[in-house]
Amino acid sequence: MLAEVGREDEEKWLAEGIAGLQQNAYYMGRALDTNNLRDALKYSAQMLSELRTSKLSPHKYYELYMRAFDELRKLEMYFKEETRRGVSITDLYELVQHAGNVLPRLYLLCTVGSVYITSKEAPAKDVLKDLVEMCRAIQNPVSGLFLRSYLSQISRDKLPDIGSEYEGDADSVIDAVDFVLQNFTEMNKLWVRMQYQGHVHEREKREKERNELRDLVGKNLHVLSQLESVDLVMYKETVLPRILEQVVNCKDDLAQYYLMDCIIQVFPDEYHLQTLETLLGACPQLQPTVDIKTVLGRLMDRLSNYAASSGEVLPEFLQVEAFSKLSTAIGKVIEAQVDMPIVGAITLYVSLLTFTLRVHPDRLDYVDQVLGACVKKLSGKAKLEDSKATKQIVALLSAPLEKYNDIVTALKLPNYPRVMDHLDNETNKIMAVVIIQSIMKNNTCISTADKVEALFELIKGLIRDTDGGAFDEVDEEDFKEEQNSVARLIHMLHNDDPAEMLQIISTVRKHILLGGSKRLPFTVPPLIFSALKLVRRLQIQAGDVGEDAPTTPKKIFLILNQTIEALSAVPSPELALRLYLQCAEAANDCDLEPVAYEFFTQAFILYEEEVADSKAQVTAIHLIIGTLQRMNVFGVENRDTLTHKATGYSAKLLKKPDQCRAVYACSHLFSVDDQDGIKDGERVLLCLKRALRIANAAQQMANVTRGGSGPVTLFIEILNKYLYFFENGNPQITSSVIQDLIELIMTETQSESTAADPSAIAFFNSTQRYIRFQKQKGGALGEKYEPIRV
């Protein structure tokens, strides 16, 4: 509300100012047209009196100023014409001094002064010196700043610079610089002093206004940078020290922050590089409230862009030891600003790291040095809780990964894990995921056990519970995502040398076994498969490795067995069972009967003791049968024991149809195509008959409970098994046995009580079609089928 009123008032004052200005400008214009110098001066002075107001904010004042500025150009042109017509410029210069008020008088003096310099009737430096001195008369900050910026503007192209037409003797070059520096100094004083004016409660508004005025002060630095005479020597010896003196001594944080920023942006890169010590030396002397990290960040940004712009400038960086100077300066700033929040310090290190990565990518020692400095700053403090600070640490740690696209490089940095240790658990995990993603993205192969050790130490936040890490807080989805990324990582660990690879596997094993029940199901399988891959590799190279070689499949299997055991203890019995079977098959391929037998035994124990759910049992039993069927390493005795058990489990499944299907599947265990030794027709038939009996029982049960429809499908399935072994030449399976079964199914499907199951009928029909087809095909098989009627 108050601000609203203020704004309205301000609009009104501005409008009044403009009106007054326009009126006097009108009369000034008329006086100029009629060549009435005296009136022109009078009205222009009145016009300029409008700038004496102290009611306007800088923005509004600037509007008024710009209008006056435009009008003064007309006056200036008139003065020029006058001198061309023979009026003495010195007279004019004298004449305008009669204006009553100081501010209008000084504006007029500057305007005539501009023409004075152009006329070259007096050396530019004398006129400028005169003007810059006289401007001291205005001590009101706002009007003083605008007046001086007017002086700076009109003198801009008339400075006695090298190569300028106003260049005087050798000294005047210095005078041009001196003039701008003096104007700058005075302006900065006015600007800084402004904060002490007015009421205390208007401080906020005043600071805002002060901030708006900053470019008037900063523009002087721009003018300096454009001067031809400000070469490196001049900059180093005069310009920079004088600016910095002003910056440091004004003890005003607003001015210090802004002017440091200006210096960095306005002067060229080479200059900064060659004066780094001086520039950086000022930093610790600034007020503790100055946002030095942004200032230095921008400096380093500029310098690294410069380094990137051309390879030719790199020697310059080395010659001036840019890195060590920056590093030292940052250390000093952090030391000097005791109250600087930790995030500030880390942000500074991030900038320095970015700088060194861009300028000296080959200097890993620099990178580690930055990380080390950061560790030092963090040490002795508890884990970081400040989210902004942790974000910066993530940035700090991510930078080398992004630069080198290779975690292996980061693993060489001793301070890298130390920085990670300072992250809270949550962020530590985020960083670990970043590391894994970097490995995935770049397809980095981690190839030695040592590196794996270092890597897993680095990502330990994902590998095991850290102290105080409350598990139940973790989001289930996030957790899965993390653990899946660890699983993917395990696949990226590889070495062609089997011995080293085994070392890698053992290292991973050591770490992941600490993971606890929730992690193991994610991390054990990839490790098992990685180890099995090694087994396969050894097997291919086989022959030349003896029993006592450092790396044998047997040794690996031993490790595998122990690893899966951890999983079954977890308990994830189904997963463990699968992995045991997988290993058994691999052992089979390695011709290691006892090992394979041991894995089966483990699987069976699990089945008996841990797999309780009936559905899981069905799945498990079929896996067992399938695997067992593919085994060829077993002697008769072992095989018998295992098949016997498998059939036993099958018959004991909870549901009849499941029993039936498992039992007929077991028939395959007694007749293996590529193993002549295993062709026990009788036991095949026994299995099938047993399956039939179970199907019968199932049907009767169904009749009782549902009063009708039985699982006729089971019979058709068994029929198909019969056909399979029939074709296979199993002597026990005869056409008449098959005929009986067909008849049985026919009666079943046609019986009144059976509500026809369309899918069963379709299944049966297609089976019949198959038989007919085989009959028609003729040949030996056709003859065999001949007796069967369908």
């Binding site: 800088p58 042109m77 470019d215 523009k219």
Partner: protein, 207 residues
């Protein structure tokens, strides 16, 4: 006497930081170029006399800061501009995309009486860089944009090599000259012979 005013032509150069506004002005006014980047702070002008159809004009060329944080005082200096030059770097796509913002910001802030017909000139600068191999904004694309904004004249320039700079500013001056003077003509309602009294209202200042 309008003729005095018409001798001064005010031109504003706008565009992102680093596109070469200062360099173009320096090349045109002083025939100088520097490879070093020195940020511009605030707004600042240089003048140059131009001859046109036997008349002499003063071109007042305002160079501005492309970095927003160096434009703290606002843009009161847009007022009374006769032509606005929009500069982009042909090697930086973003600087071209931003032309629209610069143009609109100018029209809003300067609020010329006839915005449709206010003269702009677009310069695609730094065509020399890597022999043109690093450019990302094609001449065609730039011209299409200029055409869509009411046929803005377009030049491809290099402040470094001095390519097209003279021609571009010639065109800028020509367009500035075409603009009707913006100045609201002031008529006093009462003839204030003495011109007295008004300035006493201004208060709060000792000087």
């Amino acid at each position: 006497m309008a003729s005095r005013r018409r001798m001064l032509l005010k031109v504003i150069i706008l565009g992102d930081s680093g596109v070469g506004k200062t360099s173009l002005m320096n090349q045109y006014v002083n025939r100088k170029f520097s490879n070093q980047y020195k940020a511009t702070i605030g707004a600042d002008f240089l003048t140059k006399e131009v001859q046109f159809e036997d008349r002499l004009f003063t071109l007042q060329i305002w160079d501005t800061a492309g970095q927003e944080r160096f434009q703290s005082l606002g843009v009161a200096f847009y007022r009374g501009a006769d032509c606005c030059v929009l500069v982009y770097d042909v090697n930086v796509a973003k600087s071209f995309d931003n032309l629209n913002n610069w143009r609109e910001e100018f029209l809003v802030q300067a609020s010329p009486s006839d915005p449709e017909n206010f003269p702009f000139v677009v310069l695609g600068n730094k065509v020399d860089v890597e022999g043109g191999n690093s450019r990302v904004v094609s001449e065609k694309k730039a011209k299409a944009w200029c055409a869509s904004k009411g046929n803005i004249p377009y030049f491809e320039t290099s402040a470094k090599e001095g390519i097209n700079v003279e021609a571009a500013f010639q065109c800028i001056a020509q367009n500035a000259l075409k603009t009707e003077p913006e100045e609201e003509i002031y008529f006093p309602d009462t003839i204030d012979v003495a011109g007295s009294g008004r300035h006493q209202r201004s208060s709060g200042c000792e000087c």
